[in-house]
Symmetry: C2
């Protein structure tokens, strides 16, 4: 049985790859460790947080179905936190390899029961509208009401619950609600009353997944309708927020849009849904659109960490190459949405670049969103926190604490979209590891554990991403030739591979092992795949060894924010320097006074007790002198001496995903260079 | 009679300088030209815009005093646009040297009549609360209602009307409202019912000015109460926007605040009021606080243009040195508020640095806010608009058009705070030109016209800021020694001065004429003043000649956004490059592909027909090569070759204040340098 997880293209789909591999992540490798914390801390804590925030009380009040019951407070989409937690719990229940709270099945059943109790006879279920606006017709507050968004998360939770546990109670609730939506929404002439979209996408991918789970074609048709109903400006008429339509991606049809724009989570959930529809229908125009938009996002709107969404204002994508480091919004949910979309693109196309970005985003832009202890979160994930930030007065975020651009982790947010989103991604992570096709098995991500599918069952032994050696041992193989495809990550400059100790044996179509230039595309379907085709036998061993030397990275010069800077990377990990790790910095000097000496070498060192075990990278920097008399005005004549730098200090960099786990302080990813 | 204008410290105040000079700005110098357009286009258009936006209809509805009249729409502070326009019109009516609409006095009287009609018997006047919330007690919606902010603008308009025209109708209305406020607000134990502040400062400076105009001490006391009532968190209890208190400057008392923070216009209006109170009361602690906060703002939170407020989100100050160029919010109103505050500081202290920043902000950060034609405005004033911005989909502002960071000028805003603010500043500009003290006359700003006060009457002949020669001819002088003080601008690297053709005659206390380093402070009260003390006679001539060579400027290295860049300046003007002025740039290349050759020279050239007459500066840049195969990912290995640059092109830069007058396109102030 494949790992229970999202995105299950049907056999009738045009997907190049199938998701029917199973993977188990074991041991204390980075991903196994993060998943163990998710299962043992984050998910079990969820119901407490939902209780404290009033989410469950809202549902209880709705379930009582007595008039005069008040909405306990929160946003119109308050139920969606519950649904996302349920989805996370469901994936977790389908994973018997990771220890979780033994009471979890009961908590899930209890909350499913609440939802069943709250659903009305027509199938409608949303505690905000049922309690706060009982007399308002359904689906009339589409711009800011999030009714279909919230319904979409319910449907996704139900699909997860059914896929992971085989139980049908939640799916029944979701189907009843989906049928109400299907009866209510449709194009002009369809006989359905409402020809409009919700202000927040999510229903599109949810309906596509419901089609996959139930086989009911009309859910896919409705998903396609919602995708294509964007771009007609129907959200413009009753918005009183004066947002432009681009915020909602209602400015242009998905098929015609030139670039990702507007609210980043809305944009990426919509494109995940569009990709699902293109995958299932084989619609070439829609596929070309999502390929084009993904390429635009990756090349011009994505941070080194994989984070997306530059602006705090509107939580939105910026302009091409506008990627400010401080105040990089990089919402945790947007990184998760990027992972979800990239995986759909990987399955649709079979191209490794999608899993390249997925890996980068997961290990850097998503993992940073939850503390190492699993109980504190970040909403926004900047790439620079200034010296003195901790003393800064007043600068605030708008989602409560934890989104002020300074890495102050909190236990929950007033707008709590991110925490259960992290939970559901980590719980479903094994399904992003491998795929199959007619020829065999593809490994997209590397982590200690087992992978099976496409006629092969493998054991994976590796300390990746701390070490580059990945040893695969065949435990079972079906008869005949099978192709094992290994993704050579785009960051890998040198690598070797051998089969049963023989270098190159049966290896075909791989990229050159020589160092390559800046993200150069080698082209072709096999560009990033190392293919090994042979008759396999139990005990066969493949060793892929990716060179893991730490490296210095620079940005396209049009990325103004990284002008004249370098960043430290090692393997798939982006590094940062945190002020507390730099004892050589003198009193009164901070990270913003440093200049990286790019001619000096980098060194990596394993620190088992630091940050649950990380490989640190050390570099050499110089402390920029400061005039003792800088005056009242910070601008002056261009001065040839301004590039002069002072004494050398050793800098210690830690993986970005682990930042802000030891208090609030200055941090930099991009460091000015000599 | 001194020029009618704001800020009239009383004789009992502790101000170092008195505002009782009169100045007339004539001719077609830059400021004279901008004021003429303000008087002949912007101000006369005001009532039409206020009619279209519903502001006047709101007041008419309120004046009918019939129940059931509806608020015509707009913000709770909608009346403040009317008040600010009235203030502008009043200053204009007091200036008989500048041609304006002959119907202006009647329009003013008509609108004053509307206000009188709308005011209730208790003195209250606010069409939003009177129409939309007739049954709500006054002053209960303090966080977002802007009741005292709107009242403050009414009071300022009334002070202007009385000062400029001598008429009392509007002042009577304002006094009646101020007395209601005075009866309503006060500290615990005062017997007044409300011990809280308004979410948007403005009442503080308005009450201080009302004290100055009426002599009623209790208005000053109330202003002082409101200043010191900040920082107690009283705005925290009923905000539902989850803003931090710093947004409202309610996080710390003004006397204790370490740096400017939060919503920039709120912060600066508050500090203008605090400066008024410190000036009138001689409160040394409050004076030290405003001096400290101004220095923090100037050294760490101000753009090269004088613009302030880095964030679109919350329209707020950023962190120290966080000054992004693209998406620099730099609200026009914040620049105006900075000018208003700096002038108060200049009068209080006599220090030239305040007028240095004032000049920079006025000529760069404010003038850009209105089109050369006087009928189109910018809300935000970025320092960088990217190539391709004009084709960008969807990225939007939240105040209607004109605040999306791209320089799209519009005729009016939904939130129309900026246009009438520009009008009132330009209309009152003569009062920012000169001051007096017991010894004589100080010239703070240079423009063609006349200046009189402190026992001297001068004619000023100059083409400043296009040329650096300022010729002053004494028309009248009182008997005995008088000191003429001329501000040597902080940007001036070299200058000469002579009296009746004799270099140095009677010149005392000036700064060195040798070039100085980056903003170095020379210290002492006379630091920036050139003092000429003598017995003056009609016909005496003083010539100050400021060297106007264009220059390249760099930023403190902690200003990350300007890292590795230079900006072009000439005299007090900051320059920018606009894409349309660069015919040598090849097809497919844009401003973001340029690298400035700082070793090549700059040249200035007068272009009488360009942008109503500007001096352009030409520089040499090189076009950075682009890989033909940049790939899907914009980050790659640090590469020694990445600094290589291509062929030379001539760049033409125009003054920043004149940008975005020829359509939407790319623009840069800071240019990467070789």
């Amino acid at each position: 049985m494949p790992s229970a997880g999202p995105v299950r293209p049907t056999d009738r789909s045009s997907a190049a790859l199938r998701p029917d591999a199973s993977a188990v992540l074991t041991g204390d490798g980075l991903l196994g460790q993060r998943r163990a914390v998710n299962a043992s801390v984050s998910i079990p804590q969820g119901p407490e947080r939902l209780e404290e925030a009033g989410n469950l009380e809202n549902l209880r009040a709705a379930a009582r179905k007595e008039s005069g019951e008040a909405f306990r407070g929160g946003y119109p989409f308050q139920d969606s936190d519950v649904h996302k937690w349920l989805e996370a719990a469901a994936w977790q229940l389908g994973d018997d390899s990771t220890a979780t709270d033994p009471g979890l099945p009961d908590r899930v059943q209890e909350i499913v029961g609440l939802l069943r109790g709250a659903q009305d006879d027509a199938g409608y279920l949303n505690s905000y509208f049922m309690l706060a606006k009982p007399d308002q017709p359904r689906f009339t507050e589409l711009v800011w009401g999030h009714e279909l968004y919230t319904a979409g998360h319910l449907i996704q939770a139900a699909v997860a619950h059914h896929r992971a546990t085989g139980r049908g109670e939640l799916l029944d609730i979701a189907v009843k609600f989906a049928d109400l939506i299907d009866a209510s929404f449709g194009p002009e002439g369809s006989g359905k009353p409402i020809d409009r979209i919700d202000g927040h996408p999510e229903i599109e991918t949810a309906l596509a997944e419901l089609y996959r789970e139930t086989g009911e074609r009309r859910y896919l048709d409705l998903a396609g309708y919602f995708v294509d109903a964007h771009g007609r400006g129907t959200l413009g008429s009753d918005t009183n927020h004066h947002m432009r339509l681009g915020y909602f991606q209602d400015h242009a049809p998905v098929r015609e849009a030139k670039a990702v724009t507007g609210h980043s989570v809305r944009q990426l959930y919509l494109l995940a849904g569009a990709t699902d529809v293109a995958t299932e229908t084989g619609d070439a125009e829609l596929r070309a659109a999502v390929e084009r938009l993904w390429a635009e996002m990756a090349a011009r709107q994505t941070y080194l960490t994989g984070g997306v969404g530059a602006h705090h204002s509107d939580e939105a994508f910026g302009h091409p190459y506008e990627l400010p480091n401080e105040r990089a919004y990089c919402e945790t949910c947007a990184a998760i949405a990027s992972v979800q979309w990239s995986w759909r693109m990987a399955l649709l196309t079979g191209d490794t670049r999608y899993s390249d970005l997925l890996e980068r985003t997961l290990l850097n832009g998503v993992l940073c969103g939850v503390s190492l202890g699993g109980d504190r979160y970040l909403y926004d994930n900047p790439l620079h926190v200034r010296d003195g930030f901790a003393d800064q007065e007043g600068a605030g975020g708008s989602h409560g604490e934890g989104d002020d651009g300074g890495g102050r982790r909190v236990g929950w947010f007033r707008c709590a979209c991110c925490p259960p989103n992290v939970m559901r991604l980590l719980a479903s992570l094994p399904s992003y590891v491998a795929s199959t096709d007619a020829d065999g098995l593809q490994l997209h991500q590397y982590a200690e554990g087992t992978v099976a599918g496409g006629g092969l069952a493998l054991e994976v032994a590796t300390r990746y991403p701390w070490e580059g050696r990945i040893a695969l041992t065949v435990r079972e193989a079906s008869a005949g030739e099978r192709t094992l495809s290994l993704r050579i990550p785009h960051w890998a400059r040198e690598w070797t591979a051998d089969v049963n100790g023989q270098a190159g044996a049966g290896i075909d179509g791989a990229r050159s092992a020589s160092p390559e230039g800046r993200g150069r595309e080698t082209g072709g379907r096999d560009g990033g795949w190392l293919r090994i085709t042979r008759e396999w036998a139990a005990g066969d061993e493949v060793v892929l060894d990716l060179a893991m030397a730490p490296r210095l990275t620079e940005a396209d010069p049009r990325v103004d924010a990284a002008r004249g800077c370098a960043a430290i990377e090692r393997g798939p990990l982006v590094y940062c320097v945190e002020a507390g790790d730099q004892p050589e910095l003198g009193d009164g000097y901070g990270l913003d006074d440093l200049v990286l000496d790019v001619a000096a070498g980098l060194a990596a060192e394993w620190r088992p007790k630091l940050l649950d075990g990380v490989c640190v990278v050390t570099a050499t920097a110089r402390v920029r002198g400061r005039s003792g008399n800088a005056g009242w005005w910070p601008y002056g004549d261009v001065d040839a001496a301004s590039g002069e730098v002072g004494e050398a200090v050793t800098l210690t960099a830690v993986p970005y995903y682990a930042w802000a786990n030891r208090g609030v302080g200055a941090m930099r990813v991009w460091i000015p260079r000599v």
